[in-house]
Amino acid sequence: MRKHNEKVIPDIYIPDVGSEVETVNGQKYLVANDAMYTFYKRTKGEFSPFFLALRDDKKVLGCKCRECGLVRVPPFLTHCPDCNFAPTELVEIDQVGVMNSTPPITYFASSLFADMAPYGRGRVILKGADTALSVNLYTTTGILVPGIIERGTEVKIVFRDERIGEVSDIFCVPTSELSPEQVAKKGLLESEIDWEHPQEPDISDVSSKDKAVFKKAFAKMRSVINEMNGNARARKDIASWKRDILVKSRGGQFGIFINDGNITLEDRGPDSPDFVIVSQDLRTLLDGLTYRGAITDMIITKKIWISKNKEFITVFKLDRMARSLARSKRASIMNSKV
């Protein structure tokens, strides 16, 4: 989302003037770097009270038709089309509501929204409203996966601490993750919510079979990580990336350390990890690292859990490394055949 003191178009998106020649079927074709850019002083007109109320008063406004009483949130219009354009009036709306339908979750966002992903985007019918407000959805419990927020889930509007008068000034979390005081509070801030205590899956019940499975998978894991560390392509996937990861599984735990191209596995995990991966059966994570299914898919389908939503990007990098390693191996097999 956008913040103050940032350029409306960040520099990384802006190419230099230049061009290249592409050859197709022996013919040369010109391709030029380009952009179609237009800047705006965007007038918010009749929506100004809504956005100013979000930004300055931490309030949500809707509009109520004086004739049919329909309450639309956001306040889309000054006159009701259902009542031959009878006037509407602005009303303040409750900050708790229910999901109108199950929201989709975007895991692979375009560059514009990369810093928000993974994010849910759905429609909440706030108490007293008749229409749905589109909002982003998050959870405090760890990674956002299907099943946490569904049709009928009660959610609460949370305000960003820094607000700029856009709809991204707010988002929603399930009320079940908040205290009664927080649910009741109008204008609840993001910083007032505990984001540091995700709910880890319970893996305390360990059988001797689990321990044996872990031991075997762990040995393989060590050799895969070593291979990745020695593979130039895989190393490139984690260039200028640093993460200390604690991996937990039935039967044991360990650390994976990523540091600017290096990846190492240590028996002892980090004391203060950047995030935690829980793979109940370690073979699941091993499958991902050996390119037998994407780890991102395993997260979305709840076979693997991570403690921090935003670390999905690190998992995506691990998937890239698995692919790089698999491709290098395939290439070397091809070469040896030649």
């Binding site: 989302m1 956008r2 990384i12 998106y13 802006i14 190419p15 592409e22 197709v24 079927n25 013919q27 074709y29 391709v31 770097n33 380009d34 179609m36 918010k44 929506f47 329909l70 639309r72 956001p74 889309f76 259902d82 109108n100 339908s101 199950t102 929201p103 989709p104 979750i105 975007t106 895991y107 966002a109 375009s110 560059s111 514009l112 929204f113 928000m116 992903a117 994010y119 985007r121 759905g122 429609r123 019918i125 409203a129 008749d130 229409t131 749905a132 407000l133 589109s134 909002v135 982003n136 569904e150 049709r151 856009e166 709809v167 991204s168 299914g293 991102t296 898919d297 979305i300 389908t301």
Partner: protein, 398 residues
């Protein structure tokens, strides 16, 4: 009394992921050249042009049709552009039909063209994120763009809402089978982007989740290309048909509906695609079709996502709502089944060159009606931000 209107010529350019060799000017002219050739008429005999182009950002210009009008031989003639999101192509045919039926023209060119993958993201050095971003500008600009609206997540919203209501429909193994079957259909379409991209249901099942519940192999692909039709009013159509020896494929039904963009009481019902329902049933009514399950043989529908294909088939009244999986489970669209669905491979395998897509579908429906000697086809286009725009056409083989 309005006149009967039919299709007497049709053509498509190859659909490709990228055309470095051609701008949309030449793609547009190419499809036009082939369409007049198919109808065996001179371009001077075409009285008006209807352009289907979805997105100015793709073409990197506003009024993208002005440049192609003269270049397609239409100087000093009527020209109008239609832009209704994904439904652009079907709506363009609908517009041309209305002018011809009203007697304004004897003949018309319907031309769809799109050049989508010039969009390029210089931060990842790939095209796709920028294509997604440019489609993202279609979202409501006050309340939805800023929170990460995308074409995929918006269709997922509709599909998830349908699944809230019908949790036992749209089973993953069924959507996978449909995708695999469409990949078989595309084999015989030499213009398709993915003619040789056959996949098994297992491969679909194992493909990456892009936005839950959509897997990579259940999603349409971005395409560049053009498609064109020559349409004519009854007398002219019959004369052209006599000359070419190809039957006229009449457009006997047209129906459209656009739902509300916002959701709630008196607004859009997320669990339905009511625009599909209204548009299809309006087209049936105009064509005099009482029971579509007994009449419709070929369906060329806008399959942005396999799940939406299933819901659309239910909204058309061809399978019951909540039992769209019967398309496969009861063999309704499997080979030899009651309905031939997307014989061209659909937008997932032939490709989605947005403004051209539904016109390509009409091209395919016409070809298939004639080739198979069948009588009635339904052509469909859906689009906009929550699948809330639809246009449907009934095509009848004379």
């Amino acid at each position: 009394m309005s006149k009967r209107v039919g299709i007497v010529g049709a053509a498509v350019t190859p659909f490709k992921g990228r055309w470095a060799e051609k701008t949309y000017y030449d793609l547009a002219q190419w499809a036009t050249r082939e369409a007049v050739k198919d109808a065996q008429i001179h371009i001077n005999d075409v009285e008006g042009a209807f352009y289907g182009i979805y997105n100015d950002i793709f073409e990197r210009t506003a009024i993208p049709e002005h440049a192609i009008h003269g270049l397609c031989g239409m100087q000093n003639k009527f020209g109008i552009r239609i832009s209704t999101g994904g439904a652009t192509g079907a709506y363009t045919i609908s517009a041309a039909h209305a002018y011809l039926a009203a007697g304004r023209f004897k003949t018309a060119l319907v031309l769809g063209v799109e050049k989508s993958t010039d969009c390029f993201d210089f931060s990842s050095m790939t095209a796709t994120p920028e294509v997604i971003k440019s489609i993202g500008w279609s979202a409501d600009s006050f309340f939805e763009q800023a929170i990460g609206w995308t074409a995929a997540d918006s269709y997922a919203e509709v599909v998830l809402a349908y699944m809230d209501r019908y949790p036992n429909d749209l089973k993953p193994e069924i959507t996978a089978k449909i995708s695999a079957q469409l990949s078989e259909h595309v084999k015989t379409n030499p213009f398709a982007q993915r003619q040789f991209d056959q996949v098994t249901a297992d491969e679909v099942m194992n493909s990456r989740l892009v936005v839950y519940p959509f897997k990579e192999l259940e999603i349409c692909v971005y395409t560049e290309g053009a498609a064109a039709l020559i349409m004519a009013e009854e007398e002219t159509a019959l004369a052209i048909s006599k000359n070419t020896g190809k039957p006229v494929v009449w457009i006997t039904g047209v129906g459209e509906a656009n739902e509300h963009s916002f959701v709630g009481r008196n607004h859009k019902d997320m669990s339905r695609i009511m625009s599909d329902h209204y548009a299809a049933h309006r087209a049936y009514e105009m064509a005099g079709i009482k029971d579509p399950t007994k009449s419709v043989q070929i369906v060329e529908l806008h399959d942005a996502f396999v799940h939406q294909l299933e819901i659309s088939m239910a909204e058309f009244g061809l399978v019951p709502l909540g039992k769209a999986d019967s398309l496969i489970e009861d063999g309704l669209m499997t080979p030899g089944g009651k309905y031939v669905v997307n014989p061209c491979g659909g937008l997932i395998y032939c490709g989605h060159a947005v403004g051209a897509s539904n016109i390509m579908s009409a091209w395919s429906a016409r070809e298939e009606l004639i080739r198979r000697g069948m009588k009635i086809a339904l052509v469909h286009g859906t689009g906009s931000t929550i699948a809330q725009f639809t246009a449907c056409l009934i095509l009848e083989n004379q």
